[in-house]
Symmetry: C2
Subunit: 99 residues, 2 copies
């Protein structure tokens, strides 16, 4: 239950690590991934999430060495979403036995 670190948005990883290594423009990457340039830009800036569909596209697009594992992208998104959810509303739920 200790989640002290601030997980980065996976789009940030994509923007800072993956795309520069590929030497591709955002427009060209979006074209190859089969999504719109606008949507990819939103993901890269943390304004949209890595969806299962996008994770599968990244897996089909990248080599395993470049980060082509759908579970990794989705898992990082999950960590991010969980942290953001815990940061604001903590649900008012009591432990079950009082334990």
């Amino acid at each position: 239950m200790t989640r002290m670190y601030n997980p980065p948005h996976p789009g940030e990883t994509l923007r800072e690590d993956v795309l520069p290594a590929l030497e591709l423009t955002v427009s060209e990457a979006a074209r190859q991934l089969g999504i719109s340039r606008v949507q990819l830009s939103r993901v890269l800036h943390g304004r949209a999430s890595i969806t299962p569909d996008l994770a599968l596209r990244l897996e089909a697009w990248l080599t395993p060495e470049q980060g082509g594992r759908a579970e990794l992208w989705l898992g990082q998104q999950m960590e991010y979403d969980l942290y953001q959810a815990a940061r604001k509303r903590r649900p008012n739920v009591l432990p079950i036995h009082g334990a």
Copy 2:
């Protein structure tokens, strides 16, 4: 990239393993979790997903031995969603260097 097994919906796990061990009714569990009975029933039967909010509620409610880890619930939901997404639409994306 090999995802050959059929991951169960996490609500199924909740219905078959967790709730029986607690000897609680669905209505009472929903009340303690702070969600509606209808919504919990939908989750238990795979008609609704484990959201970050619900995962945090489960974590606050259950002891760690009972399965009280938000990441586990969300991760199982992720596996399920990923498998379902891969099962139907496979995105038409080419590998990046023809590799």
